[in-house]
Amino acid sequence: MATTATGEIGAGGRPVAAASNLSARMARSWRRNGAGYLFLTPWLIGFFGLTLGPTLASLYLSFTDYDLLTPPRWAGLKNYEYAFFQDERLRHALWVTFQYVIWAVPLKLAVALALAMALDRSVRGVGLYRAAFYLPSLLGASVAIALLWRLIFGADGLVNHLLFVILGIKGPGWVTHPDYALWTLIALAVWQFGSPMIIFLAGLRQIPQDLYEAASMDGAGPPRQFFRITLPLLAPVIFFNLVFQTIEAFKAFTQAFIVSGGKGGPVDSTLFYSLYLYIEAFENFRMGYASALAWLLLVIIGVFTAIAFLTSRYWVYYEDEGR
């Protein structure tokens, strides 16, 4: 109260006093929050230097012709026009990516939820199982595992070997046949169910046990309990995993790059959007066009996320909701 009164007098009659008042206040604020800003510095440098800067730069580059060797030349909307109206390969890459998203995300979430439910009990050694099931997620996105998968699913790989020994079937080259290569990548993605599983586990732990007891007194068996209690109460977590995994799936790159040897083959069957973007940027040296593709991907992901959020009010129930 006293401070406000002094401030008002200073502002009205004595501007000098007001200025010194302001600087005093800033000094006080710095003393109070200085350490906080200091601790934030590495992150701020990273954010501005490595995230925001390049992002804005790529926005600019998306309106230019830029081959990485000569300075960018302003091209207006040319890159976007090409992407929208002429680029057949982009359309194919989008189609491949959509298929990947549509299959990999729900399958991964289903597997993650099933295992989370299996692990959500106090059995001896359950911690070990949880760690073991999480392991693929730690390894899955790595180059080494993608290479390993390429070997395992190759024409002479372990999978075909086992198929032949056990069932007498001579399997195709899973990663070299255009009909199967994408499915192999989807399988690789589903196998990395660890992080949604951990989040599901945390979500399951939040559902009070006595709701299940009440439901069982009400005559609801396990399936009805699952559909009427577990799923609705887990909806916020499902929603989070869905959005997060969808974004991840749209951005998928490493597996396709490694398994297809960086080409998106065979016959462009694993030409993910990100991989196509990479090829345009670093193999065809069309950095301007690649930048435009990056921004289009951002918009596509934004649209899907928005759709998820808009529909969520019809299927996601939040405990703290006032409805």
Binding site: P208, D210, L211, E213, A214, A215, S216, M217, D218, G219, A220, R224, R228, I229, P232, L233, Y317, E319, D320, E321, G322, R323
Partner: protein, 383 residues
């Protein structure tokens, strides 16, 4: 409506035995309260009756039918949980109808039963709301409503009032009482609050450490506790206990304590030793303030609690023991004052070294309330 019988029911978790062979019969339409301190096994016992917890040994009969292996849903019971356990994502109406829908009841019947339950509990205007929008008392009603619509054979209440504030608790207590009278259904109610037990129960089952200490009507337990535990547990403020000695005499015994306590006690059991250490028990309302020069006990008032309708005096005796004296109405007694106390000899209790009550009737070997327990369906288990 149904009767319930437990025969030598045991519960073990691994090697640890929680319930040590409980025998109990509950008559059709009775309101029985399980009461006891935390960890006495009362909730476990209720959950075993509900079918939510398996039983390790013994038998449970509902209306004469053995239900050991009958699933919770098939026992025809309904339970009100301590946390209410309302489905948070469903409206009140859905919460009420969920069980009936699960059992495939016709839509019209569901509608009628929900409407009826809502009417009984006066929650009509809440039907479209979600539990999150209700107050504690309203949630409690919905939880009870969910049980009512099922039209169960027995209602089970697991400490349903413990999450309510004191005022609401009293109010809900009255409502549950009314509900019992209206429906006439058998009800089993678990609580650690002996006031709830006293006010609600037709019969109280006092449990401690997985054993039934005593079964009886509220006043039975109050007037004739079978042992030290029940004597101390039932009644507030609790019964005063003084260390004493019982000396056998001709036809009667004398109870003598360190602070001048000296009473004739009409128990002369020839099988008891001539002289034994006992615990003398007397409720605060059976003590009277008297002239210090002539009173049996004298002591100094440590604290005087003036509640308006009654006054509680915490008096320390020369022996170092403290006793509580209840005076009806308002008494002009202050802390530090020296007072005399007389004991109503007809209303006192004597407990032997084993904690069991020593009968007042000469020659009686059974505690009076345990003798009553013989007629009552359940027998008090020994300490």
């Amino acid at each position: 409506m149904a009767s319930l019988e437990l025969r030598n029911v045991v519960k073990r978790f691994g090697a640890v035995e929680i319930i040590h062979g409980v025998d109990l019969t509950i008559e059709d339409g009775e309101f029985v309260v399980f009461v006891g301190p935390s960890g006495c096994g009362k909730s476990t016992l209720l959950r075993m009756i509900a079918g939510l917890e398996g039983i390790s040994a013994g038998e449970i009969y509902i209306d004469g039918e053995l239900v050991n292996d009958v699933a919770a849903a098939k026992r025809g019971l309904a339970m009100v949980f301590q946390s209410y356990a309302l489905y948070p994502h469903m409206s009140v109406r859905k919460n009420l109808s969920f069980g009936l829908e699960t059992m495939g009841a016709p839509k019209a019947e569901i509608r009628n039963r929900v409407a009826e339950a809502a009417e009984i509990l006066q929650i009509n205007e809440l039907l479209e709301r979600r539990p999150g929008q209700l107050s504690g008392g309203q949630r409690q009603r919905v939880a009870i409503g969910r049980a009512i619509v099922r039209e169960p054979r027995i209602f089970l209440f697991d400490e349903p009032l413990s999450n309510l504030d004191a005022e609401l608790r009293v109010q809900m207590r009255v409502e549950i009482n009314k509900l019992h009278r209206r429906l006439g259904t058998t009800m089993i109610f678990v609580t650690h609050d002996q006031v709830e037990a006293m006010t609600l129960a037709d019969r109280i089952v006092v449990l401690r450490a997985g054993v039934i200490e005593q079964v009886g009507t509220p006043l039975d337990l109050y007037n004739h506790p079978a042992n030290l535990f029940v004597a101390g547990f039932i009644g507030s403020p609790r019964m005063n206990f003084l260390a004493a000695e019982m000396v056998a005499g001709e036809g009667e015994a004398r109870i003598r304590g360190r602070s001048g306590l000296d009473l004739a006690f009409p128990a002369a059991d020839p099988r008891r030793p001539d002289q034994e250490k006992v615990t003398f028990g007397v409720r605060p309302e059976h003590l009277r303030i008297a002239d210090p020069t002539s009173a049996m006990l004298t002591g100094e008032v440590q604290i005087a609690e003036h509640l308006g309708g009654e006054t509680f005096l915490y008096v320390s005796l020369p022996s170092g023991e403290t006793i509580v004296v209840e005076i009806k109405g308002q008494a002009a007694v202050r802390s530090g004052e020296r007072v005399g106390i007389d004991v109503d000899a007809s209303a006192c209790h004597v407990f032997g070294g084993d904690g069991l009550v020593i009968g007042r009737d000469a020659g009686s070997e059974l505690p009076s309330s345990a003798a009553r327990g013989e007629q009552a369906p359940a027998q008090a288990a020994p300490l």
